[in-house]
């Protein structure tokens, strides 16, 4: 067992894990942060995307011990301080950017990264950025629309 010490959504945590434990497993099973979803477990689907030191990663394809000392943020850390939905989450709700919701945590975390690097992406850029996030319900249309709306762009004609 190895002790992993990191910051998760701003709070310091310390947890003993087997070396083979994935970051996704530590978050879900160890820290009970079950908002991070494991869809495929083969690094295809992106439901498990979290941020490690500010970068989007697939938490099912990183060992927990690799996050030792890191700042991790998950979907649980995305709401506003008063508990209301942040701009991206609210846009997903307003534009029906989800149906079953399974992929949504990863979609939101990827969107946070996208808009940090590219505050006004084009539709093509949004679709390209979501290459590693699968949704099997929506056909992506309303997800893309929600992201464009979250970036402050007019989507009334979409």
């Amino acid at each position: 067992m190895t002790t992993v010490t990191m910051t998760v959504n701003g709070a310091p945590v310390s947890h003993d894990v087997e070396d083979r434990t994935l970051l996704s497993s530590l978050l879900r099973d160890g820290l009970k942060l079950t908002g991070t979803h494991i869809g495929c477990d083969t690094s295809q689907c992106g439901a498990c995307v979290v941020h490690v030191n500010g970068q989007a990663v697939k938490s099912c394809t990183m060992f927990a011990v690799e996050a030792d000392g890191a700042e991790v943020s998950t979907i649980e850390g995305q709401a506003n301080a008063d508990g209301s939905l942040n701009v991206i989450q609210q846009a997903f709700q307003d534009h029906h950017g989800l149906q079953c919701g399974f992929c949504t945590p990863g979609m939101v975390m990827s969107t946070v990264s996208l808009l940090k690097d590219n505050p006004k992406p084009t539709e093509t850029e949004v679709r390209a950025y979501l290459e590693g996030n699968f949704c099997r319900c929506t056909g992506y249309h309303n997800i893309v629309k929600a992201i464009l709306a979250a970036s402050g762009q007019d989507v009334s004609a979409e």
């Binding site: 070396d19 083979r20 690094s43 995307v49 990663v57 060992f63 011990v65 030792d68 590693g132």
Partner: protein, 261 residues
Amino acid sequence: MYAFDIERPTSVADAVAALKDEDALALGGGQTLIPTLKQRLAAPSKLVLLTGIADLQGIANDGDTLRIGGTTTHATVAADTAGSYPALADLASHIGDPAVRNRGTIGGSLANNDPSACYPAVALASGATIITNARAIAADDYFQGMFETALDDGEIVTAVSIPVPEKANYQKFVQPASRFALVGVFVAKFAGGVRVAVTGASNEGVYRWTQAEAALTADFSAAAIAGLSVDADNLIADVHGSAEYRAHLVKVMTGRAVTAA
């Protein structure tokens, strides 16, 4: 996954020492190795994590050549070579997806030598030198077949030294599900001649299309290769495309790369 221990050395020397253990494997960004471990296709006793070694990170540019540390991620290569070697940056920015590019490393890709990976194409076409903890290996000697390289057991890719060509372009025809290269062609034009490297197509992994190199060195235009044909012998044939289809794509993508360079 079977159980294993992870060591986290902070120097190349410590990593090399840790890799002397039988059944120890080096772990870069893990974007291939971790899925492999989940499938129980590998059963190391120990993983030696390279990403904590500061000496293996970052990019140096002396004007003619880029030296890229082995654990530099695809995202960093894409961002930091956009000005110095745009075709390399473009290639790096289309590997996998954004989250994969934040973890996957150039040294890991070169050490794995997946027959459909992108980095082997730029390394071979640019006449790169793969630098390890023990020696420097010319790309022409380094790639030795599907998933095979000149690396010895326990040898670590510490950096890759990539000469910057006058002109270059990479054209990837993606397999639509995996987004790996069904066929990818990297064309690099240097003062001394043109080099053409093909990935995704051959059972032997990345290779140089020397016939096209000769034609393009004489005349750097898509028309120069119009009369050439690609032999389908020993090309990959699978559910995604026959060997003949890949042979056709090699020529088409080479022409597109020359035009776009």
